[in-house]
């Protein structure tokens, strides 16, 4: 699949749950994404953290609609329960379900997209979208630095352990206070590594204006290794893009006629 098609899939899959209000359609879409990941045998590392995200969203949304749901309950709300002085409205819960299932659909769409897209795909697509060489270089470096500082952070943790400080053995309330012992060395390392990287780039004749241009000027277009060897496009991509456009227009029309409204409110 072409990197451009993948970018358009990202845009469409992120737009679908926002256009649709009916939680049933969004739930079907969310499970469809998960089934696709199973079919394509997508490998996702640290999947449990995404479940934490869904739990966080549940906490946000349901605390909000249960304890502070009056503003989304409409003019004539139906009280279904009372918790002390708090009245729980059925319309507010319906609203909460709609938003939560929408977020579930969005997160599952992001998971599917992340599982089928590599950094090279992303960079190749940016190149075709005429994002400037300089902006792409900085973005690629940022991705590289994440892994590097993650490793540096672990090294600092080990060094502090050797000095008798282990953040994980500290009580929960104390952890943030000892975080400074990790943060300050990491800041110093970051500045030093950035200067080293900049000097290396200069020695390899990297030149650009100080103000970043987001888009490439055509005459100065530079084709990178990634753009040359990772780029692919076939008739299947044209068909997929056409399908996405038709589906998008169809969804907008369905919304206009109220076919995707939330039946629980």
């Amino acid at each position: 699949m072409s990197p451009i098609t993948k970018i358009l899939i990202l845009l469409f899959f992120n737009a679908y749950p926002i256009i649709i209000d009916n939680p049933i359609y969004n739930a079907v879409f969310g499970f469809f994404n998960i089934i696709l990941m199973k079919i394509f045998k997508a490998t996702l590392m640290h999947v449990e953290k995404y479940f934490k995200l869904l739990m966080t969203l549940a906490l946000f949304i349901f605390v909000s609609v249960i304890f502070f749901g009056r503003s989304v309950a409409g003019p004539n709300p139906t009280i279904i329960a009372t918790i002390g002085p708090v009245e729980v409205y059925s319309q507010a819960l319906g609203f909460g379900v709609m938003v939560y299932v929408r977020m579930f659909a969005l997160v599952s769409a992001m998971l599917l997209w992340l599982s089928i897209t590599t950094t090279s795909d992303l960079m190749s697509a940016f190149e075709k979208l005429n994002i400037s060489y300089v902006a792409r270089t900085y973005l690629t470096m940022a991705f590289r630095f994440i892994g590097m500082f993650d490793s540096d952070f672990n090294t600092i943790q080990d060094a502090q352990k050797a000095r008798g400080l282990d953040i994980n053995s500290q009580p929960l309330w104390k952890r943030p206070f000892v975080f400074g012992y990790y943060l300050i060395p990491l800041v110093a390392i970051t500045v030093k590594k950035a200067i080293d990287a900049g000097t290396t780039m200069e020695s390899r004749a990297f030149k650009a204006p100080l103000k970043i241009k987001l888009f490439e000027e055509k005459k100065g277009l530079k084709q990178s290794y990634v753009g040359k060897y990772y780029w692919r496009y076939s008739g299947k991509d044209t068909a997929t893009i056409a399908l996405l456009i038709i589906a998008f227009v169809g969804l907008l029309i369905a919304r206009m006629y109220g076919l995707v409204a939330n039946p629980f409110m």
């Binding site: 946000f60 909000s64 989304v72 900085y138 943030p176 975080f179 990491l186 200069e202 970043i212």
Partner: protein
């Protein structure tokens, strides 16, 4: 005599600091949040805020760009938060870096926090006021997405504000005092310029 002369800034070094500062903010944001979790990724402690505020002061617009760029990468790529939701937090993250940077430049303050005026601007503007604005814009974005209701906004506002402000005051002050003399000798230190 005694004036520090720094080598000329180049796109290579400034681009490197942009990328590196983005990297450290993502790592610190992730580890910091995990050290005091409230539920999932909701945290009462977000030390990346200290780096957002300092980045704008030290590196000018390069730091401000990082402040709104890194949450998009960390939220969308790292935590699978939908990109449209992550993108609506740009104004909040922009203000959490730009305001302090602007005040330090506008009133010719010293990032090494040498005088009472420097301290007051840092604590009141760069830590408290800019976080209050950021929390207001951020939680309003959540309300507009339907993630929280208008009545619940003050509660989540308080969570955001407290979780961001105290790490900024504690770690931001420490880093500014300890690391500014080192960083100002390098050519990635942009202050008092913007670019």
């Amino acid at each position: 005599m005694g004036e520090v002369i720094r080598p000329k800034r180049t796109a290579a070094t400034m681009g490197s600091i942009l990328a590196a500062w983005t990297g450290i903010c993502i790592v610190v944001g992730a580890y910091g949040s995990m050290s005091l979790p409230i539920g999932g990724y909701v945290s009462g402690f977000w030390p990346a805020m200290a780096l957002q505020a300092i980045g704008g002061i030290w590196f000018g617009m390069w730091g401000v760009i990082v402040a709104f760029l890194f949450p998009i990468i960390s939220d969308a790529i790292g935590e699978a938060l939908p990109m449209y939701v992550a993108a609506t937090l740009i104004p909040a993250n922009f203000f959490q870096s730009w305001l302090g940077a602007w005040v330090f430049r506008r009133f010719k303050l010293n990032p090494e926090l040498k005088t009472r005026k420097d301290w007051l601007a840092w604590i009141l503007i760069a830590c408290i006021l800019q976080n209050a604005i950021g929390a207001t814009l951020g939680t309003t974005a959540f309300v507009l997405w339907g993630l929280i209701t208008w009545e619940a906004q003050p509660l989540f506002w308080a969570g955001w504000f407290i979780g961001n402000t105290w790490p900024a005051i504690v770690f931001g002050s420490l880093i500014l005092k300890i690391a500014t003399p080192f960083v100002k000798r390098t050519r990635v230190y942009v202050f008092p310029d913007w670019w």
